[in-house]
Symmetry: C2
Subunit: 215 residues, 2 copies
DNA sequence: ACATTTTTGTTGCAAATGCAACTGCTTTTT
DNA sequence: AAAAAGCAGTTGCATTTGCAACAAAAATGT
């Protein structure tokens, strides 16, 4: 399971910790903009309840969901995205409570001898590290030169993750095409080819890997 | 300029810091393997002199350079890569000195009141964050559906980075093809098309962006 | 229960791409 | 100085892919 920022810190400690870090809280209603990434961002946000999305609006007004955030997820400083065109915002999608902390208050030497402060930083480092690995995986997939290789590479990974040769995709086929950055119809055509070649069985989101040798 | 781990820490402080973190040092000759990523990695390494490379050997024995490391660069714990096939190693390419630190000694509460300890952590967070942005950029480039768009997107970025419409590529055209994950000859063909369409001027690594409107 | 939106599935076609093979030029090594 | 290795550039060809357009099924909202 993915590490969450408050893992290993109990309720009582958490309150002291937030106090020590001069954390502020605010609630947002669904639809409200929590932050927009523009200029310098100093604060780091932690979703403590509800749901939010990191969204990119490009010049043409199309929006892309970059990430879904729920309890324990973070955004803002240290979690910046890159955008060549258009703005990136964090928008509340289900009324949520957000904790804001300044980076300086995270890294500063803790005058109160709170041991959980170091747990917090350890978690933070781990989260950033994990995030990087997730991106590394995505890059590995996108590095595959052909659609077929992208598909098989992804299927192989997902199969390993779920521990079965037969599994259900965690999202829709349309989303998969977006994730692999390929045309949806071209992807479905290629899946048909894979079926016809006897390399996979598939029906909608149900995938079964057969003899990968022929791949 | 990219943040380095010891930025803002002077020599005297550095020695105290390394002492406080129970850092160990070792030197390696060119060709020596510094670590291989297998199983759990607890230590984080910092190159303090010389050069090393993060290399992936896939099943067929092909090697890929994932990253080049020089003074101040880090590897090991928190800097893990993902590999579906084959091993990843850090190999010394020019006799180098390496500082090793245990993650626990980085995050632990510092008994000695060393202020630079928090600077160290701040730098570390920043480095991990920057690394994630670099990956995010790469993903954005690879997300472009066609070779032409990948090229133009990359050229646009590089042009902004260098602050000129006319610039020199930071690596060879072969390496660029690798970076964009496309066939080299197909890429050169597309660059020729861009030239013929009057969108760029280019000769070897010299690129000049003209009227991007036609793109 | 009905209307609307999303998702899955398919096909034709032109254009883009990977692959392989070959040339000449430059840099590095021996 | 010769040999080897790497880099830039080109071309033919079969295959892959994006794009557009359409249809049916499933999910969602009212």
């Amino acid at each position: 399971m993915a590490k969450k920022i408050f893992d290993g810190i109990n309720q009582g400690e958490l309150e002291k910790l937030l106090d020590c870090m001069k954390a502020t809280k605010r609630t947002y209603k669904s639809g409200e903009i929590i932050i927009t990434y523009s200029g310098q961002i100093e604060r780091t946000g932690i979703i403590s309840g509800g749901e939010a999305q990191v969204i990119k609006y490009d010049i043409d007004g199309n929006k892309t969901i970059l990430e879904r955030l729920s309890g324990g997820d973070m955004f803002g400083r240290l979690f910046t995205y890159f955008s060549n065109d258009g703005d990136i915002s964090v928008i509340c999608t289900r009324s949520c409570e957000v904790i804001f902390i300044d980076l300086k208050d995270i890294t500063k030497r803790c005058e109160n001898a709170c041991t959980y402060h170091s747990v917090f930083i350890e978690n933070l480092l781990e989260i950033l590290s994990d995030r990087s690995i997730t991106q590394s995986v995505r890059i590995d997939i996108l590095s595959q030169r052909t659609l077929r290789k992208k598909l098989l590479f992804y299927f192989e990974l997902e199969s390993k993750r779920q521990g079965k040769r037969s599994f259900t995709l965690p999202f829709s086929l349309s989303s998969l095409a977006d994730y692999l950055c390929v045309d949806r119809s071209a992807m479905l055509r290629e899946m048909k080819n894979l079926r016809d070649s006897g390399i996979i069985h598939s029906h909608s989101r149900q995938i079964q890997l057969l003899n990968m040798n022929n791949a």
